[in-house]
């Protein structure tokens, strides 16, 4: 199982429809300060069901919707689609390819999609249970979060281990 593709539009600095096609192995993302690299990491976290906007550096939910530049107006919706290659069927579904999608509108309305059909956020979270792609897991290490392993509470380390076991 691997992350095949991300489609991002209206999410943070990704005002325009952006497609990122990834490969197995080591994928490197580079670019200047502030150009959007960590925003991609936030997009992955978000589409996997992150419920706490503070984990995405926001204060209120609509902070993650593109809020405009000097020249361009804010947008009304953020959407991220993540396409996963499931040919090894690590995810307990029959599909060889799965697309998980999430939308947020300025009104506050949300949509969650699994291969184009509407589902609830917890269906997405449950889908990934047991894969390690979870909230307390170690599959995403955000910028500045690495030191938490040592500086954080001994109990947090226990939680990480429990998540792994």
């Amino acid at each position: 199982m691997y992350l095949k593709r991300l489609d991002i539009k209206g999410f943070k600095s990704f005002a325009n429809e952006t497609e990122i096609i990834l490969e197995p192995g080591i994928n490197i993302i580079v670019g200047p300060n502030g150009c959007g690299k960590s925003n991609i990491a936030d997009a992955v976290r978000w589409v996997l069901g992150e419920g706490n906007v503070r984990q995405l550096r926001g204060q209120k939910n609509e902070d993650i919707i593109f809020n405009g530049t000097d020249k361009q107006k804010p947008q009304g919706m953020a959407m991220v689609d993540m396409t996963i290659d499931n040919s090894d069927h690590m995810l307990p579904v029959e599909y060889g390819e799965i697309t998980v999608g999430r939308k947020l509108f300025r009104s506050g309305e949300s949509e969650y999609l699994l291969n184009k059909s509407r589902v609830r956020m917890k269906d997405i979270v449950n889908l990934f249970t047991g894969t390690g792609l979870g909230k307390r897991g170690y599959s995403i290490i955000g910028q500045g979060e690495l030191e938490q392993v040592l500086n954080g509470q001994a109990f947090d380390r226990r939680l990480i281990l429990e998540e792994a076991s």
Binding site: M1, Y2, L3, K12, S13, F14, A15, N16, T18, E19, I20, I21, L22, E23, P24, G25, I26, N27, I28, I29, V30, G31, P32, G34, C35, G36, K37, S38, N39, I40, A41, V44, G68, T69, K71, Q72, M90, T131, G132, L133, Y138, S139, I140, I141, Q143, L146, E147, Q148, V149, L150, N151, Q153, A154, R157, R158, I160, L161, E162, A164, S165
Partner: protein, 154 residues
Amino acid sequence: FSQFMLLANESFKRTFTEIFGGGEASLVLEEDSHYLSAGVDIVLKMPGKRSQPLNLLSGGEKALTCIAFIFALLRLRPVPFCLLDEIDAALDETNLMRFTQFLKNMADEIQFIVITHRQTTIEAGSNIYGVTMPQQGISSVLSINVSDSISMAI
């Protein structure tokens, strides 16, 4: 859980010693708490140095220790993909080489997506993506082939 603690401890010892080229490390349950709520402490000794409280470690030593912990878990219980955002910031060139070597060793089993500014890490990658803002405030992504990427180390 205590079963898993043994495996995790084992993996951490091995990973730490590999990544530091020596030294010792282990995971221990806190003594002064009830079994179910006891946290996990890390005890370690850098190669050639004495065992010391973790706080005295340098920025790079701490970073590499955390990396050893994460990688120890990944070896034990792999995840399908792992996204790392500038975790190599504090590492010197030698440690950077060790870190990238580890990535390469695990890359058959785990897909890595690594955000970095460091040249050595960029060179370890098989696919490079450059993020830019040709229009101020709006991100855009392009696939870069490996030879151009050296000059993209921004």
